[in-house]
């Protein structure tokens, strides 16, 4: 496919990099009786072919909502107000029900948060994976189906006996692998993984993370990985998107995210990674996130920012590319450019 230039702000097209997923100006509100909760405030970002993008930010900043928005499964009272979601250049928003159903899972699959309750308790693993195949590819012979599912199992490191089991007969790690197997069964270009390892103990967590990496290498699939665990992110992702209160504040390749974070919020996030080598005071800034129902004018981080300036309280900063591929929305960097 021919890569297309994009007008969005968070990462321009680079030669040799194919954009698989292009999210443009996605805005999602939860419409409550006491006003709209602005959970995702018009975010834009790209995912390139074969990369893993980490989506990080504190609890409640809108990561899951953004992911569900991309999948068009925002639970009510949430609503997608505007935006475009292009997968290989084709917009997923505004499709009819039937078109959407056909493209789901083929082009965009999900590894759900925790995976503990993501499998239907009354269906065997084989039927739940088979469901996806049969729906999208029509009837295929039983032995072919089985061979295909068993092949998936070996790819994600599941023993063949899982084929006939029910979800409650699996361990947490196995369930997560079943979910991974299910997500790759149709070989989609993009997978969204919402905290895929958060419900697992650390050892299993690393093993499952490794499985994800292997799968990505083998299939060349792109992933969005939502997570709190910055350590895990450091090991897995290629680029990091930092969200704060519904806005993207920084987009950066993974190394600079840890060694040279630009946005004050990212700096705070990195500084609060616990270390087992030294005991440092937990870093907490004063103040909480503002009420998402009525954000202050200007920068969303102004209430907690140690470097807050006058302009921060008036106009929201735009994304600028401070270093190659490293974007930030903050007036500390190039105030003049932004006002122009």
């Amino acid at each position: 496919m021919i890569p297309q230039p994009t007008s969005s702000v968070s990462g321009a097209y680079r030669a040799g990099r194919e954009i698989v997923l292009d999210v443009r100006n996605l805005r999602i509100h939860y419409e409550t009786p006491r006003g709209d909760v602005i959970a995702v405030n018009g975010i834009s970002f790209q995912v390139y072919k074969g990369e893993i993008v980490g989506l990080v930010g504190e609890s409640g900043c809108g990561k899951t909502t953004a992911a569900m928005g991309i999948l068009q499964l925002v639970p009510s009272p949430g609503r997608i107000l505007s935006g475009e979601i292009l997968i290989n250049g084709r917009n997923m928003l505004g499709l009819t029900e039937a078109e959407l159903r056909e493209r789901r899972w083929r082009e965009l699959s999900l590894i759900p948060q925790g995976a503990m309750n993501s499998l239907n308790p009354v269906m065997r693993v084989r039927d739940q994976i088979g469901d996806a195949i049969l729906t999208h590819e029509g009837a295929i012979p039983k032995d072919k189906l089985k061979a295909r599912i068993l092949e998936l199992f070996s790819l994600v490191g599941l023993p063949p006996r899982v084929y006939d089991l029910y979800p409650h007969e699996l361990s947490g790690g196995m369930k997560q692998r079943v979910c991974i197997a299910m997500a790759i069964v149709l070989n989609p270009p993009v997978i969204i993984a919402d905290e895929p390892t958060s419900a697992l103990d650390v050892v299993v967590q690393r093993v499952v993370a490794q499985t994800l990496l292997d799968v990505k290498e083998r299939l060349g699939v792109s992933m969005i990985m939502i997570g709190h665990d910055m350590g895990l992110q450091a090991q897995m992702v290629d680029r990091v998107i930092v969200m704060y209160a519904g806005n993207i504040v920084e987009v950066t390749p993974v190394m600079p995210a840890f060694h040279n974070p630009l946005h004050p919020y990212t700096q705070l996030l990195i500084a609060s990674i616990p270390s087992i080598k030294e005991r440092k005071p937990l870093k907490i800034t004063t103040g909480l996130t503002h009420d998402l129902r009525n954000p202050p004018p200007g920068c969303s981080f102004q209430l907690r920012c140690p470097h807050v300036m006058d302009i921060c309280k008036r106009v929201p900063p735009a994304m600028i590319e401070r270093e190659p591929d490293h974007w930030v929305a903050c007036y500390l960097y190039g105030k003049e450019e932004q006002q122009g």
Partner: protein, 335 residues
Amino acid sequence: MRGLTKEYVIRRFLMFLLTIWLGATIIFIIPRLAPGDPVAAMISRMINQSGYIENSAQLIEAWRKKFGLDDPMYIQYLRYLWNMVRFDMGYSLSQFPQPVIATLRRGLPWTIGLLSVATILSFLFGNLIGALLGWRRTPKWLKRILPLSLSFTSIPFFMLGIILIYIFAFGLNWFPFSKGYSDSTPGLNLRFIVDVIYHGTLPAFAIVLTSMGGWALGMRGMMISIDSEDFLILAQAKGLPMRRIFTWYAVRNAVLPQFTALALSLGGIVGGSILVEYIFAYPGVGYQFYQAIVNLDYTVIQGIAFLLIMATSTAVLVIDLIYPLIDPRITYQKK
């Protein structure tokens, strides 16, 4: 069978016997706690009917002996248990010398036929309505119409029964007022079967109308609470057809607790049939129960009470044994 071990089945069956034994014992004890002498009461009733009975004192004596009422209590108890095992429940007092079991055998097929069909229909309709009401993707117009079908639940059964009889039997003359059949000869012939269905329609309709609301409300609640389950979201993300998600992911899970309730209400058929059969003069056990109470026919009352215990424990036994089939998470295997 999946999830069942021989050991569990045996244990469960012993539990079943224990329940019935306890129930039977209670039935044995309670009448004996009441003051009075059943034989004396029976004789005095006969005196009331016929004016005078010669040697009534000797008669009482003889009958007490015949029924073994002079034996020690434990002998009476053991004999009673032995009789119950053989379904020998003595003689009906009001239709002496007909055995109680003959009375019950006459009524039971009618009750079981009418009530189990009606209960199962009500279960099916009620759960379907509830599932549609609790499903987010149900068309709006359907969601608006469906609650109407539940408004009958708030009308007391006897009133609805009378209204139905008034409209469909008296007014429109579509269905008969009462009885289980009219001019056909009982047996396995088409004419009789059609006759029975014709007579059973109105009472069954009344039962379904009044009871399906309960099922619907329970099911609706279950559907709503299942709606936010992660596996439903994943099923949607998979792009499965809505129908498949509705039946195999939502309803299939939401309906599970309803099965336990179904077992209980099937077990409670005999007790629940009194009002229906009274209003529609239906020849089942419920009608007999009503008459037995009116006639103070203690042995029949006792027999029906025993039947109630049998029915409920059997229903619960059956649901326990088939539950692993409908919910794979329930197993009785040793870990």
